[in-house]
């Protein structure tokens, strides 16, 4: 069982959060929008907290918010806000400053993914997947 901190609970972040919680992990979510808390609750029988999840309201660059959300104890850090630049910054901080063992960062811009991957950052680029899917779908055209 791992302690997973997810920053940014949009569609992706919140779904990953619920899945990880269901898989028996400790999951803490940090988001600056209270709506994202409701998103976590939706589709569950109980509230996010009753199911064992943690939620902290705050921005991913605020050190106090990151601490409150448990960055110092995290085994896994997921940067999944809607901003590439925020994700790239906080992912590097989680890895370099807080020494979180596993850091995964969502980056929409494929051009930068390549370079940051070379620097040792574990990145996921939804845009690259979309491009690949489109190209595959268009193969028969």
């Amino acid at each position: 069982m791992s302690f997973i901190l997810i920053v940014g609970a949009g569609r992706v972040g919140s779904t990953v959060a619920r899945t990880m919680l269901a898989n028996g992990h400790d999951v803490s979510v940090l988001d600056e929008d209270p709506l994202s808390h409701e998103r976590l609750d939706s589709g569950m029988d109980t509230t996010w907290e009753d199911a064992g999840g943690r939620f902290t309201l705050g921005h991913g660059l605020e050190i106090d918010a990151l601490r409150e959300a448990g960055i110092e104890e995290a085994d896994v850090f997921i940067a999944a806000t809607d901003g590439d630049n925020t994700n790239l910054t906080i992912a590097q901080i989680a890895g370099k400053h807080y020494e979180v063992p596993r850091v995964i960062c969502r980056v929409m811009d494929p051009a930068r993914v390549e370079w940051y991957a070379e620097q040792g950052l574990h990145t996921i680029c939804p845009t690259s997947y979309a491009i690949e899917m489109f190209e595959r779908a268009l193969e028969e055209v």
């Binding site: 660059l61 605020e62 050190i63 901003g83 590439d84 630049n85 925020t86 790239l88 910054t89 590097q92 901080i93 370099k96 400053h97 811009d109 051009a111 930068r112 370079w115 620097q119």
Partner: protein, 224 residues
């Protein structure tokens, strides 16, 4: 010198003007279309429209031949990443980043983005300079060169009052370079005697500041 400036706000625009008037070659990158159009009327070809955190935008601006990259957008993450790319991917020799929120300064330091300039910190320093009760003022920090210049006020009751400069034992790496007395500065000699209310300027290796401040501090506090 070729300078790339990210962000055409008040800071970026005026920096560009100044640098161009000193005959430097400048390219400003601005991501807000209407701001770009406004500034473009003056800077013309020296401004480009685009998001400076995107590689192709930086490349179009000629980042790889830039001697200096300055990131002065209103967004700290952007400034940090622009400077990181300039320095580490495009091997630009000198970078300057603006820190909008001084609480983010630590992140710039952590990721090796130096110098990072924060208006709030600059104003705080000015306040320190204007309000002598703060005791020690940082006048200059040369991080790369590993030197600092500080100003220490000699308070009433300080153990250095009445002593000659040559009799004050400073730690290695610290040197008294000037004394301000009655609004005038002079370079002290070995036999210059320190007076109450003097402001002493010292050049230091980094990390010596606390011991110097202690050495000049008043004894009264302890006696009271």
């Amino acid at each position: 010198m070729y300078v790339v400036i990210a962000g055409a706000g008040k800071v970026g625009w005026n920096l560009a003007r100044e640098l161009m008037s000193k005959r430097h070659e400048v390219t400003v990158i601005e991501s807000d279309r209407s701001r770009y159009l406004t500034v473009e009327q003056e800077l013309e070809h020296a401004i480009q429209y685009g998001d400076a955190t995107e590689l192709w935008v930086l490349e179009r601006a000629g980042i790889s031949r830039a001697d200096l990259t300055i990131a002065v957008t209103g967004d700290d993450e952007d400034n940090l990443l622009i400077c990181q790319l300039a320095k580490e991917k495009y091997l630009c020799e000198r970078i300057i980043a603006r820190v909008n929120n001084p609480r983010n300064r630590q992140y710039f330091e952590l990721l090796g983005i130096q110098p990072a300039v924060s208006a709030t910190d600059l104003i705080l320093r000015l306040i320190e300079h204007e309000v002598p009760s703060y005791g020690t003022v940082h006048l200059l920090d040369l991080r790369d060169e590993q030197l600092e210049i500080i100003e220490v006020e000699v308070p009433e009751g300080s153990p250095v009052i009445g002593r000659r400069v040559s009799d004050i034992t400073l730690p290695d790496g610290a040197l008294i370079i000037s004394i301000l007395r009655d609004g005038k500065g002079f370079v002290p000699k070995a036999d210059t005697v320190i007076s109450d209310g003097d402001e002493v300027l010292l050049v230091l290796d980094p990390g010596l500041e606390d011991s110097i401040t202690e050495q000049f501090a008043s004894d009264r506090r302890d006696a009271a």
